[in-house]
């Protein structure tokens, strides 16, 4: 498995890489300055073309945050003419004021699908493979994004999307899928349905590789997936704002994910001091795109906590590795592939006069299915004598949350003052999902 999609780039020498990055960075700054947002930022800071003369100078440029993207939605970050933009992607899990968008020119799409192809080739996908992509299609970048990369390699793509689990399995059997791309949180359900169908994923299907990403997951979880599914499961890192999938991928040695540094200039910063961390400690991953034309991003704060894995990798790739994502700087959590923040739940609940400020979000796995259970205290405005009113209240909260975060929660009404006071929103999430 030791051959490369693009050997020269993947094994490039440090000094050549840095020269390449510098060239691309200059071009990126030039392109970015054509967007409304970055033009404003450059003017306010009196930036010119001589501001950045070394890679370290990137630190002179302010960070770009998700809030910036949301505030200047939809076209504030567009750096190309609309006639040259051929696609956009957006997070499909939130509504209204939380929306962010990414635009692509034809070249951006080519560049992106090449990075995805490079990533998939790295984990062993070949043109003889049957590649099942069980991720949401549509606005979500993970669907089409992974597909175009797999197609570029020449694999036979089965775009199963989010059809029900039984169908996913039947498709795997019908077409002899050898590779599966899916969310780590979904695998427990997959295994359960295999069992229900009296099938053994280790012997009854042809899967040999799984690509898992888009959600935080532990090494234990990966081991469990490999063991129960009889596959090698590779961690894949992607961020919607930075294309989607195809930013970093594990190689055969599964010890950190190689970041494609020819396309992404990355830093690890201390989220409190905003300075680079020392000695490869954990910090927040900040990324500057080097190839994007429609919408370059400068020093985008991903909110993901990781660290550089030091040393050279035995696979021969010289692009540095980052460790599996340890956590987030904010309180965002993942469920069923969606990123949700407790603040969004709080927003819904604040509109319900019968409930108080105290609530807890419990994430659990029930019968293999992930569930989000919102335990919320009722207050004195609830009329406790009326069942139908209590049921109606429960339903009202469920509908409100569903329309805000696209996931249908379970809601448990609790007595007033029964939850421990959680003044800080960060204490509100209790994740009970087991590793196996």
């Amino acid at each position: 498995m030791l051959d490369f999609w693009e050997k020269d780039i993947e094994t490039i020498l440090q000094k050549d890489l840095q020269r390449l990055q510098m060239q691309k960075l200059q071009k990126t700054l030039q392109t970015a300055s054509q967007s409304y947002y970055y033009k404003k930022v450059f003017n306010e800071n009196h930036f010119g073309f001589s501001t950045v003369t070394s890679l370290d100078d990137i630190r002179k440029i302010p960070f770009t945050t998700k809030e910036n993207l949301q505030k200047y939605f939809p076209y504030g970050f567009l750096s190309a003419e609309k006639k040259d933009v051929v696609r956009l992607h957006s997070s499909s899990c939130t509504t209204g004021d939380h929306l962010t968008v990414v635009f692509y020119t034809r070249n951006d799409l080519d560049s992106w699908s090449n990075l995805v192809a490079r990533s998939l080739y790295t984990v062993g996908v070949r043109n003889t493979d049957v590649f099942q992509n069980s991720c949401g299609y549509g606005l979500f970048a993970g669907g089409i994004g992974i597909q175009t990369g797999a197609e570029k390699i020449g694999a036979l793509v089965v775009p199963s999307g989010t059809v029900n689990t039984k169908r996913q399995i039947q498709l795997m059997i019908d077409f002899g899928a050898t590779v599966l791309h899916t969310l780590p949180g979904y695998v427990t359900r997959l295994i359960d349905v295999f069992n229900e169908m009296n099938l053994n994923p280790k012997t009854d299907i042809e899967l040999r590789i799984m690509i898992i990403g888009a959600e935080l997951h532990s090494e234990e979880k990966r081991q469990m997936i490999q063991e129960k599914m009889g596959v090698k499961a590779f961690n894949s890192y992607g961020v919607t704002e930075l294309n989607g999938p195809g930013i970093a991928i594990e190689c055969e040695f599964q010890n950190g994910m190689h970041v494609w540094e020819d396309s992404f200039l990355f830093e690890i910063i201390d989220p409190k001091t905003l300075l680079p961390v020392e000695n490869n400690s954990y910090g927040e991953l900040v990324v500057t795109t080097l190839d994007r034309r429609a919408m370059p991003l400068l020093r985008f704060r991903t909110g993901d906590i990781t660290r550089v894995v030091s040393g050279t990798c035995d696979c021969g790739r010289t692009h540095r590795r980052i460790d599996r994502i340890k956590g987030r700087t904010d309180n965002v959590f993942f469920i069923k592939g969606c990123k949700i923040s407790p603040e969004q739940i709080e927003k819904v609940l604040s509109r319900v006069p019968e409930v108080g400020n105290n609530f807890i979000i419990v994430l659990d796995s029930i019968n293999g299915k992930e569930e989000m259970i919102i335990e919320v205290e009722v207050n004195n405005r609830v009329f406790f004598d009326h069942y139908s009113k209590l049921e109606k209240l429960t339903k009202y909260i469920i509908e409100g949350v569903k329309s805000e975060v696209m996931i249908t929660p379970k809601v448990k009404l609790m007595e007033s003052n029964s939850l421990t006071r959680c003044d800080q929103v960060s204490g509100r999430v209790r994740d009970l999902r087991k590793e196996g």
Partner: protein, 140 residues
Amino acid sequence: MMTIRQLSIFLENKSGRLFEALDSLAKEKINILALTVADTSEYGILRLIVSNPEQGQKCLKARGFSVNLTEVMSVYTSNKPDSLATTLKLFSDDNISIEYMYAFQFHDKGVIVFRTDDRQKALKVVEKSKMELVKQEDLV
């Protein structure tokens, strides 16, 4: 006053919670005359007729319970086997919707407690059939 006051308490389905509510009232020497618990898998509603509903509410609230006072209608029935059915028929004949109902023995009389949104209609039935309304003072 045409109604009596009932305590409606929201209880989580946690073991021991019902006992804690009743124990709180017992500690304040509040007499429970009637009790009914209705439940779903998620939570229960405990309804109580007590000798001093205002004090009962205060006492439960102080101990962290979620409690309302609900106005319910209540009539005496005689202690005969067909008395309950006969009384009920008078209400249903007039299409009065009863959300819930329970009954208990008070001294030597039967008492029916029920909750209806058709209170005016129910009162007319009570007057017409010469039923005797239970008054809050009776229950002290």
